[in-house]
Symmetry: C7
Subunit: 74 residues, 7 copies
């Protein structure tokens, strides 16, 4: 992840992001931190793929599982 | 992504691009930025794979999921 | 795994972590150590994917099999 | 892609190439440019996998999706 | 495989380790040596996935096939 | 591809090689050139997987699709 | 492939090795040479996966297809 993208991610710290994963799952949580491999730490993460959400707590998600990250737009 | 390709991508910033993904999905949006791994940020992104489009908002898409990018030709 | 993430992992040493793997298995154990590839050593590891847990003992798990790590929050 | 191969590709710029992809699709187009990862830009690209061809316009195709490139021989 | 993990592996040389592979097979043998890619050499290796064990003799196993290694704990 | 292997490949230039691919296809052609990634250029290439051979002409084949190359022995 | 493993492989040159591949095939042949990526050249190679063996002649096999190599022990 190069500088242009890193700036976008930094602006999302402390905000809720929605992750679409390569395994078709969808995970939502508050972005704490990230690194150049797009590894992310999230607070209050939830697997929201099914109607009944599954609480995951605080997680570290490996970047290579990510398809796309929906970013807050404000 | 080396220089030759980077120049092509730069010319598309602010324009609508269409992404064909390795998972067979098709995503459309306005290209904001990109990096050397072909990670992209898009505004007003939509999953247009199905007849009913799905709004994705502002997204960061990991480059390793991309099959091809259709570029505006103006 | 860059510095930001490494700090989070260090804080979990000696604590119980829960690993969701790319093969859909779930493994739990006490984190002993880790490296920059997210390779982990765990004590008293258990495969808790099925109702009947399977004891794995002390294991070294390759980082590239990991989807996400649920971290203790205290 | 090292020098020996790069020379072959350079000789194809401005000519029509046929790409066989790892996903079994076949794409044809006029080669504009390429980089060391075999990322290619094509003009007037068409997906010719099915009897009815699908126009793709100007595209940037990621090199890691390519199985083989049929090169013009003259 | 970084230093922390390498130390753990060194302590297992000459001991019996149990390998869970990404292809769901399980292999057991006496660890002779290893390298930074987690490539391993094993003596008296056996595929113990099925009830009837299959003797493999002395093998070199590529590290990228490994899911986890169960380590002797004493 | 390191030096030892490169020497073997050099000796095959101008000769017919048979490629077994990871997708189970078999391709035959006259080796023109190759690079360190095992990317190959072939003249008069043919897909000989089926009884009826399919002419591919001059091709550039990406090395990461190759399982094995049968080499002429004289 | 680091030094420890390289020494093991060197000791096998000129001897018959048995390769278990990731695609579940089994190949046997006399090891001629190898490189750091575990790319191998074999003489008198045979696919022995089926009861009826298939002669492959002299081959260059890409290392990333290998699961394990059974080594001669004397």
């Amino acid at each position: 992840m190069a500088d242009e993208i890193s700036t976008v991610m930094s602006a999302c710290q402390g905000k809720i992001v929605l992750l679409r994963l390569r395994n078709t799952k969808t995970v939502q949580g508050t972005l704490i931190d990230f690194d150049i491999h797009m590894n992310l730490t999230l607070n209050n993460a939830e697997d929201i793929s099914e109607e009944k959400h599954l609480s995951l707590g605080k997680i570290l998600l490996r970047g290579d599982n990510i398809l796309a990250i929906s970013l807050p737009t404000d």
